[in-house]
């Protein structure tokens, strides 16, 4: 940008103009609103103490919600036990590595063939910077984080119906879209067509801003030379003799609009996906394992809950040992926090009022599929300079996620070769046998990365509706179901309360699991103290 995209006008000029126009109050206002934006409903570590003597809590599910509740309740002095269906802690907080074996509903078993150090996070895979609850527990429990790159300008947007199927760099689509929009708006402004809504003074500022934001030339046109400062050159800048670059040609506005590729840009603008995002070093299950280091001694694994009874003084939960079916045992406690996913819970015989039961029955779980593919070499880095980030495509695989660690080291790598969430494709991939899902993901991904065919080694395909422990991916609320059922779902029913991502306004996020667990724990404590 040293050469400037707006000759005769620099950043300081722009700030001066804004300062003159808006006054110093604007800066203060901006800071205040920034401060507000940083607020989260998570404030600080919960401080509970003074549990009634001998008070007990039974927690159903050793996922992130259940283990958060267990950790805090035990600290407060409660006697805590957890029943968990799986033979491992974490629930959907899970990482699959070489040698791991998983049997889905229907009986298909996959044994992961990834090389050491490579993995797939079949459930959550990224943490927004504003998920203060997750971040605080990571800090307190010693979970090391690294960046998760959501927007990599050098990854692709692709559609079989645009540009002959040729993938376009995100950079080109994003910048050309900005450039064309800026040019159109600048033209409209210069022609005086904005006079009704925008003062003359603001129009001047707007023109300068569009020049900067949209890479416009001195005539407010989107042309190759200033555009190349943003989108790169056809012949890159070189050193020594012949180093002069050749500008690149923007995509024509009409082609860009008709391509539909702009639709994917929201994946970089939405609040949940804005930089900075994180992932735990070595796999998402570092979080589940860290919680289990604290509360693992409270967990009874392989325990399938078959009945939940309660009266005015206690909760009795009957469970079956998955290793010896038919053997039913009982666990009794003063209180119960139930984090069992709703599709499973809705089928368990439960003593609860009609409001909670209608709420449980009204929330379906989204369909979702994630497929990990191991390749002999990291061709996306070596051949295409894609280091982390995500390619979005209209092909049925929908996304390709590049590994967010181990950059530029060569050797093998595992891609996220498909990630569908709640689309028809999620259902359609779920309906295929695991090996077929992998095969299709490879064939489809090869349309973006032809290297797939020569480099593919093995894959692992997780379809969440076939998950024996959740029967779906995450709560799929709508505005209507939220209005009708959300408060009922979260309300105490006698001595039982639900927690989990489904009992939050952040469904599918681990932050939702933590916030709902903390809220349940606080209310339980108040009740236990008779407040």
């Amino acid at each position: 940008m040293e050469n400037g995209t707006a000759p005769g006008f620099n950043r300081r000029d722009l700030l001066t103009i804004i300062g003159l126009a808006a006054g110093s109050g604007a800066a203060y206002q901006a800071m205040t609103s920034l401060g507000l934006a940083a607020e989260s409903s998570y404030k600080e570590p919960i401080q509970l103490s003074g549990a009634p003597k001998g008070a007990s809590v039974l927690i159903l599910g050793a996922g992130v919600a259940g283990m958060t509740a267990a950790l805090e309740l035990r600290k407060a002095g409660y006697s805590v036990k957890i029943l968990e269906f799986n033979s491992r802690p974490g629930g959907r907080n899970w990482t699959v590595r070489g040698g791991d074996s998983y049997t889905e509903l229907g009986g298909d078993t996959q044994t992961c063939g990834f090389d050491p150090g490579l993995y797939l996070n079949p459930g959550p895979w990224r943490i927004p910077h504003h998920h203060r609850g997750v971040l605080d527990y990571c800090r307190r429990l010693g979970v090391q984080l690294e960046p998760f790159i959501q927007l990599n300008h050098n990854a692709y947007l692709q559609s079989p119906r645009a540009f002959g199927g040729k993938p376009q760099r995100i950079r080109d689509v994003k910048i050309d879209f900005q450039g064309h929009v800026a040019e159109l708006l600048a033209k409209t402004t210069s022609q005086g067509k904005l006079d009704a809504g925008v003062t003359k003074e603001d129009q001047e500022i707007l023109l300068k801003a569009l020049q900067h934001w949209g890479a416009l030339d001195k005539n407010y046109a989107y042309t190759p030379v200033p555009a190349s400062e943003f989108r790169g050159w056809d012949k890159p800048r070189g050193g020594g003799a012949g180093g002069r670059p050749t500008p690149s040609q923007p995509i024509a506005l009409t082609d860009l609009l008709k391509s539909g590729l702009w639709a994917a840009l929201e994946n970089f603008f939405l609040y949940d996906y804005q930089t900075t995002m994180f992932q735990p070093v070595g796999g998402m299950d570092a979080i589940g394992k860290a919680f289990a280091r604290e509360v693992g001694d409270l967990i009874r694994f392989n325990a399938k809950v078959v009945r939940i009874q309660q009266d005015d003084v206690k909760v009795t939960v009957s469970w079956e040992d998955a290793k010896s079916p038919g053997t039913v045992a009982q666990e009794v406690a003063d209180w119960c926090i139930c984090t069992i996913p709703l599709p499973v819970l809705a089928q368990i015989q439960l003593d609860a009022g009609p409001k909670l039961k209608s709420a449980m029955a009204a929330v379906p779980y989204a369909s979702s599929v994630k497929i990990g593919l191991q390749f002999k070499r990291r061709f996306w880095e070596e051949d295409e300079a894609i280091f982390g980030g995500i390619t979005f495509t209209d092909l049925p695989i929908e996304q390709i996620g590049y590994p967010q660690f181990g950059f530029n080291r060569g050797g093998k790598g595992v891609l996220l070769g498909a990630y569908q969430y709640d689309s028809p494709r999620a259902f359609e991939f779920t309906a295929l046998p695991p090996a077929e899902r992998v095969k299709r993901a490879v064939a489809l991904g090869a349309k973006i990365h032809p290297q797939y065919e020569a480099e593919f080694e093995n894959g692992f395909a997780m379809a969440w509706h076939r998950s024996p422990f959740t029967m779906g991916c995450a709560a799929d609320w709508t505005e209507e179901t939220l209005a009708e059922h959300y408060e009922d779902l979260c309300a105490f029913d006698n001595r039982l309360v639900l927690a989990g991502e489904h009992a939050s306004y952040l469904p599918a996020w681990q932050e939702g699991a933590i916030l709902s667990a903390l809220n349940a724990v606080e209310r339980l404590h108040r009740k236990a103290l008779g407040q």
Binding site: N267, E398, D422, P424, E428, M471
Partner: protein, 129 residues
Amino acid sequence: MRMPLVAALICFALPAMAGETAHTPVFSTGDVFDEATGETLYAGICQGCHMPNGQGAAGAGHYPALAKDSKLEAAGYPLTMVLHGLNGMPPFSERLTDAQVAQVVNYIRTHFGNSYADAVKPEDVKALR
């Protein structure tokens, strides 16, 4: 609260291909399902949970079997389930047309050991929306 998808704003739905079968899976292109026949709708959606032979499955909870299912006798029951969902069953009213719902309900009511001859029509579906 659906996550944004590339496809969310692009609905260039293609007509389901003639001669589609359960062995050549259809991948829909937009937000609605492109499968047209009872067989392909079952193969593309239902068998994800109810399994290829309608046998259902069991884990922490279970997916009910559709094979030899006396609950299918009254067509209104499967029609309502497909349209509006219940418990873990997602609603499909916004993703399937009346004709598609009729196709798939007729399919399950005449396969997997079920033989209910009273086929439902798209109008029957419409009445239950």
